[in-house]
């Protein structure tokens, strides 16, 4: 149940899989994303409401053939240059887009968790998005009103980061919870990385508990949400997001950065050491 991240990724994620890494600003599973890069996963369909730095990295390293998303940017900073390069120039490979609204993505995850084939919402009305995405119509049998239907997300693998697991692999996260519960419950297989393994989970305000039997593998990855944050453990590395902008603008700079900090590091500990070394040198 509790395994090294490397083993979890190699056993549970296959080339061509539909993979969702979720975490809404908080608890973004970056270390797991880096492990996908290290293991050279390719042809992935990546789902995520808010693709940010970690998806920029996965896309720039050519891991993805398709992106399903609702907002793709560097929050508070600007563009994701690797995402843009893939969409605008097909580099390093063309990237198919399936674009939704936040409300649609959230409804699609909730439908997946509930084992329904679609989610219903008042949305996708007017504008150009409906003609560019997968959306259908259902009609209320009582009122005759037409509503939008989005196809449920049912990822092959759902990956999230949480604060704690106990030794049996029961997981608790707290604070802003995003769509993480839905991501795990909607997925065929799931990986949860955690900051800490504890003897017993203490119930918390705004706590979300996922019993071990809903999860395929738990990996202990301290700092695994960097550069996002883990409430109670560490703050958001706002400077990293700002620094990502120049790194990611240039293909060569980006590739060198990824080689140095991801490909040439074995795990999150080495990744952190590598970033610290660079900061000291600068």
């Amino acid at each position: 149940m509790i395994v090294p991240l490397r083993d979890a990724v190699s056993e549970l994620v296959r080339d061509g899989d539909v993979v969702a890494l979720e975490g809404f600003t908080h608890l973004i599973p970056s270390a797991a994303g880096h492990e996908l890069v290290r293991q050279g996963r390719k042809d992935l369909t990546l789902i995520r409401m808010t693709p940010d730095v970690i998806y920029d990295q996965l896309i720039g390293m050519g891991c993805a053939r398709k992106l399903v998303f609702s907002w793709g940017g560097n929050p508070g900073v600007g563009s994701l240059h690797r995402l843009r390069d893939a969409v605008e120039n097909g580099w390093p490979r063309p990237l198919e887009l399936e674009e939704h609204s936040h409300a649609g993505m959230a409804a699609a995850y909730a439908a997946g968790a509930a084992n329904l084939p679609f989610g219903v919402l008042r949305g996708y009305r007017g504008g150009d998005l409906p003609s560019r995405t997968r959306v259908g119509v259902v009609v209320c049998p009582f009122t005759g009103e037409a509503l939008a239907a989005v196809p449920a997300h049912r990822p092959d693998v759902g990956i999230v980061h949480a604060q704690q697991a106990d030794r049996h692999g029961n997981v608790q996260l707290w604070g802003i919870a995003g769509v993480q519960k839905e991501t795990v419950l909607a997925s065929k297989r799931s990986i949860v990385t955690v900051e800490e393994i504890v003897d017993e989970l203490e119930p918390r305000p705004n706590g979300v508990v996922l019993p071990s039997w809903t999860i395929s593998a738990v990996a202990h990855v301290r700092g695994g949400a960097h550069p996002s944050y883990a409430a109670g453990y560490y703050d958001r590395d706002n400077e990293f997001y700002v620094a990502w902008d120049p790194v990611s603008r240039d293909r060569g700079t980006f590739l060198a950065w990824m080689k140095r900090h991801v490909l040439d590091t074995a795990d999150v500990e080495e990744y952190r050491a590598s970033l610290a070394e660079e900061a000291t040198a600068a």
């Binding site: 609702s70 793709g72 609204s101 936040h102 409300a103 150009d128 519960k181």
Partner: protein
């Protein structure tokens, strides 16, 4: 840089102040990062302490001391009355029509208040791929009053959107760096200019033939109190 007599202020500050003035003590508003967050927090710290701030990350009634840098900052959750999941936020709260005001920005706006935050150029082969709609399509139709905050230029205020991300049906005001636009007779019309700006500047910065209201107002510049509250927020945000 303009001054209110005593103090100089920036165009961003003028925009935040004008948006804040439109919120009252009972307003429930859906806030994005940047200027909207600055405006809503300013309102809460001046004339509208009871104003409820909702961030799409699921924080309801957030009362940040520092200005958040992301919509999911830890402080938003720590100071919130309630934290809910993202599916609940969009289903029970936004779609549930519990939110009065929603702020939106965009890369382009047309005379009807329709917004584009998706692409510049063709969708399949864009010149610039923008971040996308995020919460905007449903915010635009799910709140009573949409406030748009957007710097005015012929590149942003366009005759024809490259892509319609969200509809302008509920846009009640557009606060720009030059003035205030409101819908009149079915299209956005200039109703006020900020001190130091002119109608001519606003028309020149608009890609369509901008209509001007018969009775033009000049915006009241930020008061000392507003500027002090604003800068306290901004300073803390940078620390």
């Amino acid at each position: 840089m303009t001054t209110n007599g005593d103090r100089p202020y920036t165009a961003d500050e003028m925009m935040a102040v004008e948006a804040a003035r439109r919120l009252d003590d009972t307003t429930v508003c859906f806030v994005g990062i940047g200027l909207p967050s600055l405006a809503a927090n300013l309102a809460r710290r001046t004339h509208a302490p009871g104003c409820t701030l909702i961030y799409e990350s699921g924080t309801i009634g957030a009362k940040p001391v520092r200005l958040p840098l992301s919509i999911g900052d830890g402080e938003l959750a720590e100071t919130a009355d309630a934290v809910v999941s993202v599916p609940e936020m969009f289903a029970y709260w936004l779609q549930g029509r519990r939110i009065d005001v929603g702020f939106l920005g965009a890369a382009q706006i047309d005379r009807y208040g329709n917004l584009n935050s998706t692409v510049i150029g063709d969708y399949e082969h864009p010149t610039v791929r923008l971040p996308g709609g995020g919460g905007a399509p449903e915010i635009a139709l799910g709140v009573d009053d949409v406030f748009v905050m957007l710097r005015q230029s012929p590149r942003t205020f366009v005759e024809q959107l490259d892509f319609t991300t969200s509809l302008g049906d509920n846009v009640r005001v557009v606060v720009t760096d030059l003035g205030i636009l409101e819908p009149r007779h079915g299209e956005l019309t200039l109703v006020a200019v900020h001190p130091g700006s002119t109608v001519e500047q606003a028309r020149a910065a608009t890609g369509w033939d901008l209509q001007v209201a018969d009775e033009m107002r000049e915006t009241v510049p930020p008061t000392d109190e507003e500027l002090a509250a604003l800068r306290a927020l901004e300073t803390k945000g940078r620390s």
